[in-house]
């Protein structure tokens, strides 16, 4: 059997790897005991278990993750790779005016060879790449294990510490003094004065330890718990159960299914309203308006949410009942059953309907024979007019353009499904003609197929409507982020604004040794002791580290 445990002369048995005895603080580790330098007070000299046992794979993995060095490397690597993601826009931010929104084309087209490399290395979607997420996950693991590996032994060491410390421990503290001939009474007054400053006093064989603010030592670990909760929240965010982010466009007066709700909810856009600042808003905006033109004041969708009744097969029109009605504005979502609808964007003035008139082509007054209205989302095949005239809609292009790459030369096509730039091929039959006449009409264009048409169609009027773009969001993870961030902050405050201060009073043969330690703000600790000593003929502990430094620099 090998002796793993180290028994200190005070009788306490320490685990292997201990630097300073957990109970009395006597230096145990070999180099620690023989060196003349100050005591290594990190984690109070306790043994970090991972540094000791490394027999199995699990212990080795544990040791790897428990290293702060590894943790810092992981953070640095993540930082560097995050920076790479900001060189060119990420995939989802490819601008709308790009040649192509396909990453394979966009990056090379806009940024040349560098863009091509960027695309090929997969940096265009860096933050969702497997290796980036792995890095973050490794940081998370490192955080948990680093904390566990330190907080447990530190807690044990602080719990086991005794008021009576080994003389060598005191001598090796940064703040130390030795005073000859100190009476028991002076010692007691000193102690009570420390007590008045909220120090917790413990006594053992006439040895005294005064301690304050131990809980500030847990600050970093509490802070890590907060971070871990935030990381867990971001994992929860990946599940559709906890988080959904969809978008939906609705035209004025239309009703569509809300994506992401399993076809249970529908939304009707009663009206989209865009308000801009104008003269009625008073003088103070005048200057800005003159300079900047139109400034939006309000984006608003008056919406009604419907809920489907009963089970429906996808695609089938369900029976709907009105569920909630409200106004959606910037940052004022409409909320229902865990979902929130946010105003995201809009598109103004999409054509809704157009009114055409039929007249004789040669008529300079363009006297109306009859007129008809075309609903651009559901046009009729045929419009019967007065006096036996009929207009047939032989072709309709909701979003017209002339495709130069057509199979048989340039051909008219529609770019999208929506009436953004409608064009029509009309076929007019009149009682006085045997053959129908063909003509092509669009905004600002009216082309006669043969050039010999008798009749002509002209746009009289049109109405437009707006399209609202909404974000559909379900987010149950937000409370976790808030809790995580709050705990994080508590940890920061705890470790930042309080310090763990300890003073040891060690009487020895009529002499009094005073040593003190804090994890930060040594000046205030000095002040505390100064206040306690007051006018007594007791030496104020001096900073041995400064003394060492002075010595080294040759003074």
């Amino acid at each position: 059997m090998t002796m793993d445990k180290i028994k200190c002369e005070c009788g306490h048995v320490n685990p292997e790897g201990t630097v300073l005895c957990e109970a009395c603080g006597k230096p145990i580790a070999e180099d620690e005991a023989t060196s003349s330098k100050l005591a290594n007070m990190r984690y109070d000299g306790s043994a970090r278990r991972s540094q000791v046992y490394q027999s199995s794979i699990i212990d080795k993995t544990w040791a790897f993750f428990s290293s702060v060095k590894v943790g810092i490397w992981l953070i640095v690597l993540t930082l560097i790779s995050s920076a790479f993601g900001t060189i060119f826009p990420q995939k989802m931010y490819i601008p709308a005016d790009a040649v192509s929104r396909d990453p394979a084309i966009f990056y090379e087209d806009r940024y040349g060879i560098l863009g091509k490399i960027y695309y090929q290395l997969g940096f265009y979607d860096l933050y969702n790449s497997w290796w980036y997420i792995t890095l973050i996950a490794l940081i998370g693991i490192s955080l948990v294990i680093c904390s566990l590996d330190r907080v447990v032994p530190l807690y044990k060491a602080l719990k086991k510490q005794k008021p009576k410390r080994h003389e060598m421990f005191l001598r090796k503290q940064r703040l130390f003094s030795e005073t000859e001939l100190v009476s028991q009474k002076d010692l007691e007054t000193l102690t009570s004065k420390l007590k008045k400053q909220n120090y917790k006093i413990r006594k053992e064989d006439g040895h005294i330890s005064a301690e304050k603010g131990r809980f500030s030592r847990w600050g970093p670990y509490i802070n890590h718990i907060g971070l871990i909760i935030i990381l867990l929240a971001s994992i929860l965010r990946l599940t559709p159960l906890m988080y959904k982010d969809e978008s939906v466009s609705v035209r004025d007066g239309e009703r569509v299914v809300i994506p992401g709700t399993d076809y249970n909810y529908y939304i009707e856009n009663k009206k989209f309203i865009l308000e801009t600042y104008g003269e009625e808003d008073g003088e103070k905006f005048k200057g800005a308006l003159e300079k900047g033109g139109e400034v939006a004041k309000n984006f608003q969708t008056n919406a009604v949410v419907y809920k489907a009744k009963g089970e429906v097969v996808t695609g089938e029109e369900p029976e709907l009942e009105k569920y909630k009605e409200g106004e959606i504005r910037m940052n004022q979502p409409l909320k229902f059953d865990g979902y929130a609808l946010y105003q995201r964007n809009y598109q103004l003035n999409e054509f809704k309907d157009m009114t055409f008139k039929l007249h004789l082509k040669d008529d300079p007054d363009e006297k109306v024979i009859d007129q008809f209205k075309i609903d651009l989302t559901s046009p009729e095949k045929e419009y019967k007019l007065k006096d036996g005239y009929t207009v047939k809609l032989s072709q309709y292009y909701p979003d017209y353009f002339l495709d130069e790459e057509g199979k048989n030369g340039p051909e008219p096509r529609s770019r999208t499904a929506y009436p953004k730039f409608p064009a029509f091929v009309f076929s007019v039959t009149s009682p006085d003609m045997k053959e129908p006449e063909l003509s092509f009409a669009s905004i600002g264009q009216n082309v006669d197929a043969t050039g010999k048409n008798k009749y002509k169609l002209g746009i009289v009027d049109f109405t437009t409507r707006n399209v609202t773009g909404l974000t559909v969001r379900k987010d149950y993870t937000l409370p976790f982020y808030i809790i995580g961030a709050a705990i994080f902050m508590i940890g920061v405050i705890q470790g930042m604004y309080w310090q763990h201060r300890r003073v040891w009073l060690h009487p020895k043969d009529g002499k009094l040794l005073i040593a003190a330690h804090t994890n930060k703000n040594w000046f205030s600790l000095q002040k505390d002791i100064e206040k306690a000593i007051g006018d007594f003929p007791i030496k104020q502990p001096i900073d041995q580290q400064e003394l060492d430094r002075d010595k080294e620099s040759g003074e």
Partner: protein
């Protein structure tokens, strides 16, 4: 005796420590793996090869086909090809004559072709049906509900479902006649 006791105690402690570390590592690595997998599958199709094709029901608008509406689950016993398309999409238009040819060739051998249109205006679709003399059912997915159900993004996209309702293949992009034929033969009821 005392020495043996101490060895025992130490072994117990070691075992406990190993279990503890194993447990923590397993939980952490499990969470990391979960994060990784759910992120990688996030934007992927919801239904993949080998899954049962989810049911839907849409109104049928092709006048040369007798059906009023089409429900996928009612096509049982037949192999089904779903074709997602729109009139403004050029590759969709290019593959349509081939789909019609294949429909004529395989419909009486137990193959159904359901063409799922994503246009917003019916007239445009009717003109298209007329132009290409389509005879298979054309259904309109106005709300994009079925498109979303199948996780279809680019069009054209085709899904091949065998007579048991299992997705055999998913194809994004334009298909050539021989590719369609090969896949239809695969889903033909035996």
């Amino acid at each position: 005796m005392k020495l043996e006791e101490r060895i025992e105690k130490k072994k117990g402690k070691k075992r406990k420590r190993l279990f503890f570390r194993f447990g923590i590592l397993a939980v952490l690595i499990g969470a990391a793996a979960f994060a990784l997998i759910s992120n990688l599958t996030k934007d992927k199709e919801i239904y993949a090869k080998g899954d049962m094709a989810p049911d839907f029901k849409l109104a049928q608008i092709n006048g040369s086909n007798p059906a009023d509406s089409i429900q996928l689950s009612k096509q049982s016993g037949n192999g089904v090809m779903l074709n997602f398309w729109a009139t403004y999409c050029k590759p969709c238009e290019r593959e349509m004559p081939d789909i019609q040819t294949m429909y004529e060739r395989y419909h009486n051998q137990g193959i159904d072709i359901i063409s799922i249109n994503l246009d917003s205006t019916e007239l445009v679709v009717q003109n298209f049906i007329e132009k290409y003399k389509l005879t298979f059912p054309v259904v309109r997915d106005k709300d994009f509900a079925v498109r979303e159900l199948y996780g279809i993004n680019p069009i054209p996209s085709s899904i091949f479902i065998d007579s048991n309702g299992v997705i055999v293949d998913k194809k994004n992009g334009e298909l050539k006649a021989d590719e369609i034929e090969k896949l239809l033969k695969e889903i033909k009821p035996k």
